[in-house]
Amino acid sequence: MVPLQWYIWLSVALFMIGVFGFLTRRSIIMMFLSIEVMLNAVNLSLVSFAHFLNGLRGEVLALFVVAVAASEAAIGLAILIALFRNRATAQVEDVKEMKG
């Protein structure tokens, strides 16, 4: 039997891999992939809490997270296509018009 802590630690490690990717990658598409990794880490912790608490609330919440992740990916990738059409780049450091 695996204790709850192991699942939480796995979830935190996965989340931090996502944080690292989001902070360091330059390509916008890889940043979106990092966000997906982070959302999956949160889903893993929600499902493991649901399992260890004998509840289903975590699973229902994880379903909503999946829905939000799908819409976030669709909108983000549409923005990326619009950006690529106008600027022919997918690197964050080439988009700096808004710099204060």
Partner: protein
């Protein structure tokens, strides 16, 4: 779930996501992510979340990552491959993520599960996980469910408007 299966799945998930987020070629990254999502789905199965495991494969591996592949097809992958992989602040990124990791590990070291709910493994086995999740979604969580559908509708319209060439 047996500790050996957990160890394999956890190690595979961490290694595959680490590989995915450090690849130069985004197509390779997406393929690693697909394998990682399958491992995560097996882990959901081990946690008794059968419906979520199916959703993980159908929605994540089947829809979201295919969407990523389509967008990569539109982009100029050659330029993507030649560009520098990490920004100059990558040691900073390692420092922040490992610092946050240590912080959360310290906090979660003595977590104990709270009040037990009514859905014991025996109760779930009598009615199946999918039926119980569906019943909850359409009764207790029907308002969040409608909000989620509205979010998806807005996302569909927004994605079309944003990616359209010219608005008439």
């Amino acid at each position: 779930m047996s500790p050996y299966l957990f160890a394999y799945l956890g190690a595979a998930i961490l290694v595959l996501s680490g590989l995915a987020l450090t690849r130069k070629n985004p197509v390779h990254a997406v393929l690693y992510m697909i394998v990682m999502f399958f491992h995560l789905a097996v882990m959901y199965l081990g946690l008794g979340a059968e419906f979520l495991a199916a959703v993980q494969i159908i929605v994540y591996a089947g829809a979201i990552l295919v969407l990523f592949l389509f967008v990569i097809m539109v982009l100029n992958i050659k330029e993507e491959m030649e560009a520098e992989r990490f920004s100059v602040g990558w040691p900073f990124g390692i420092a922040i993520s490992s610092g946050l990791f240590l912080l959360v590990i310290l906090v979660t070291g003595n977590v104990v599960p709270g009040k037990q709910g009514a859905y014991t493994p025996a109760a779930v086995a009598a009615q199946t996980n999918t039926k119980l999740v569906g019943t909850l979604l359409y009764t207790q969580y029907v308002f969040p469910f409608e909000v989620a559908s509205l979010i998806l509708l807005v996302a569909v319209v927004g994605a079309i408007v944003l990616a359209k060439k010219k608005l008439k």
